[in-house]
């Protein structure tokens, strides 16, 4: 494993950690963005350039911004009085640790079945285009529909009710 991978891995993990532990919610959103960036670079490292750029565009460009907007709209920037973690945070931590242990154990104990180095795939955009319009046309259309309905839904959900005070 090369050094780039390890650096990128550390960045991603640290980004994630800070994202869930900081008190200031805006700082958490920013840390999340770092995590996203780390993951995008990891995609690039995995020769999935399209996925990496899509990740940057969508996640960092849209989702992170959205999260910041939401934080600002809900006064999330103010520090809460009782503390940021829930009263029963230890149970949650424990469960997460349980999940990680199961996954890690599964991964580490199945190395025998895991395939080793393989050839670098040559992926160009044309192929992706062909794939999108060929094999994956149905998912494409459905995703389009989904995005539309999601947009509509979000608007309706977050819209001011008639007569309701702001």
């Amino acid at each position: 494993m090369n050094v780039v991978f390890w650096i990128l891995a550390v960045i991603t993990i640290l980004g994630g950690l800070t994202a869930v532990t900081l008190k200031n919610t805006v700082h958490c959103a920013l840390a999340l963005t770092v995590a996203f960036a780390g993951l995008a670079l990891l995609f690039l490292e995995l020769d999935a350039q399209f996925a990496g750029f899509a990740q940057i565009l969508v996640y960092i460009g849209a989702v992170a911004i959205l999260v910041v907007f939401a934080i600002l709209l809900t006064r999330g920037s103010e520090t809460p009085s009782e503390g940021v973690f829930s009263r029963t945070w230890f149970a949650g931590l424990l469960i997460a640790a349980g999940v990680f242990s199961v996954l890690a154990w599964a991964v580490l104990h199945s190395t025998a079945a895991l395939p080793h180095e393989s050839n670098v795939p040559a992926v160009d955009v044309r192929q992706i285009g062909h794939a999108l319009m060929g094999r994956y046309v149905l998912p494409l259309e459905i995703v389009a529909l989904l995005l539309t309905s999601a947009m509509l839904g979000a608007v309706i959900v977050a819209m001011h009710e008639k007569g309701e005070q702001k």
Binding site: F5, A9, T12, I13, G16, A19, V20, T21, T25, L32, A35, L39, L42, F43, L46, A48, A51, Q55, V58, Y59, A62, V63, L66, V67, A70, L73, T74, G76, G83, V84, F85, S86, W89, G92, L93, I95, A96, V99, F100, L103, A104, L108, T111, L114, P115, E117, S118, P121, Q127, I128, L132, Y136, V143, L146, A150, M151, G153, A154, V157, A158
Partner: protein
């Protein structure tokens, strides 16, 4: 450790971190942040398996990841919209306080 295993472990760790955040933070938005992390970890898994699995020329893994990104975006939009709506109603985003559905 094979490269694939390393990638999978990283993904698993990120997943666990995201889960921990979703399960322990009070603020609803931070729960959504955790969920985004979990989704990203899953995407990483997919791409890693595409890169190191059989038949990468089929582009299955990467396509799956791309679609997952699209869906995650939609989901984030709707979810945050819901949080805002709840905030408007309950005047707080503290999840410990929001227990109207208590059985």
């Amino acid at each position: 450790m094979t490269p694939l295993a390393a990638y999978l472990l990283v993904a698993a760790l990120v997943f666990a971190i995201g889960l921990a955040g979703a399960l322990t933070r009070r603020n609803a938005i931070l729960v959504l942040i955790g969920i985004e992390l979990m989704l990203n970890a899953a995407n990483l898994n997919l791409v890693a398996f595409w890169r190191y699995g059989p038949h990468p020329e089929l582009l299955t893994g990467m396509m799956f990841a791309v679609f997952s990104i699209a869906v995650a975006a939609a989901e984030a939009a709707v979810g945050l919209g819901l949080v805002i709506a709840i905030y408007r109603h309950a005047r707080t985003t503290d999840l410990d306080e929001i227990n109207r559905m208590k059985g």
